[in-house]
Amino acid sequence: MATNQTAIAVRNLRKSYGSQLVLDGIDLDVPEGSVYALLGPNGSGKTTTVQILSTYLAMDGGEVRIAGHDLVKEPAAVRAAIGVTGQFSAVDSLLTGEENLRLMTKLYHLGPQEGRRKTAELLERFDLVDAAKKLAATYSGGMKRRLDLAMSLVGTPRIIFLDEPTTGLDPRSRKTMWEIIRELLGEGVTIFLTTQYLDEADELADKIGVLDQGKLVAEGTVTELKRRIPGGHVRLQFADSGLLSSAALTFQGSIRDEEALTLTVPSDGSVRSLRTLLDRLDNEAIAVENLTVQMPNLDDVFFALTGTSKNLKGGE
């Protein structure tokens, strides 16, 4: 399998609903075998993006290639390469989990034997064996979501779209879903997911695009995004208040906490600045018990970025 190929390439993607501009010129590239997370609040255009990329919705303008196929000219080839799990579960609740999967194997023309094998494999993998003969209507949210994803995998897609895969799930189901996503990644599948959760993007994505009001306001790896805003620091813990005091003198502008015996030193979290910090501690012969690097979390990043874009608009 070729690596470093582009699985999803999007140029100047535009979409309006009536007079409302929903996607305002999106550009993005997702390399094969990586996870791209589209992060944005409700109404920012995540679902619209997924619906367009998955051939459900027509775009107003732009150019999209999925698995090397032009989205507009070769929708059938695109459909054959992708698996889609939409924001709302799309299972037949009057069928059992097993029947839902068998339906998919037939629609993918797998043949009876291969169809049964695939169904059994997916039931096993998604922990649905016990529920296989129960109607999907009786499934819990997490089970429905797993069945939904299992159904999207029947055609062995190379690219998977997941629109808010964990929204509304309890923490345990959420972790399970994350594990499944990582497993898929291990098989070389490309994943395009959307989320409102910063920790989810942080946890899963190789690259994050921050979507706000139909615009990608920032894009990069988690670390790159965190670098872009101030607020990172290093927390040093000491054995006694004597050491704490000497350290506080060394690092101007730091904040000391007498009770916890900690000192908070502003830092951008880069290796170089950490090395400088440790060198200075060494020079002063101050022993540190414990050191933690606290980067701004994605929440901070998100609000800083989208706040900025809103301010810009307000200032016009």
């Binding site: 459900y56 059938a76 459909r79 939409g86 709302f88 799309a90 299972v91 023309h109 109607l135």
Partner: protein
Amino acid sequence: MSSLYLSFSDSATMLQRNFQRALRNPFVIFSSILTPALMLVLFFYVLGGSIAGGLNGGEKGGTEYLNYLLPGIIVLTAALGAEVTALNVNYDRTENIINRFRTMPISRGALSTGHALANVIQTLISIVCIVGIGLLMGFRPNAGLVEWLAAFGLLALFSLAIAWLAVPLGLIARTPGGANSLSLIIGFLLPFFSSAFVKPDTMPDWLQVFVKYQPFTAVTETLRGLLTGTAIGDNWIYAISGSVVLAILGYIFARWAYNRQPSR
């Protein structure tokens, strides 16, 4: 594999899914027999006496009115299939499964075709039951095997047309309630504004014009002729061509509705 084979295979898969679901929800089949059966009882026992007076030499509880009525009830049974079909299709829409199908490499007409064929089969089963009930009540057809086969052929074609009209209604309706109301235009209004239950001659002139030329009347008259030997005239031509035209229009409408961009 040719694309024709694939679209047959996909439609067959969708049809099979319809059966799996129908068996899970037998009330739907039950009610699609019960409703026309109740109408039969209502018209024959409750209204029959006074309506039969309008037929030559009509007598209370007589075979003559039943012979007139039953073909109409059969057409009503076929028409009511519109409701079941529209609801089934709408269920797929509100359950989002159509969203999944639309992003899968399956033939675009398969889902609708599956629903349409399911309706034909379900309707023919209901009609057999209705004919059975009719026979118990005293319905006395004089049709031979050929006439019965022709009757069922016509009914299959007619219910296909009904289904193709109902599929797009189910696709465009936002709620099951909406799908239900829309389909009742086909399922209830058209049969009543036809010759299904009473002779059009007894209606006001302006209504007669509509009633005589709408396809339900042609189908009813053809069926009546096949089963009870009344004059068919040109009706069979209008019945067949009307059904074919409606089926084609419905099919085009359904293709459009399936591929339609979502809106609010």
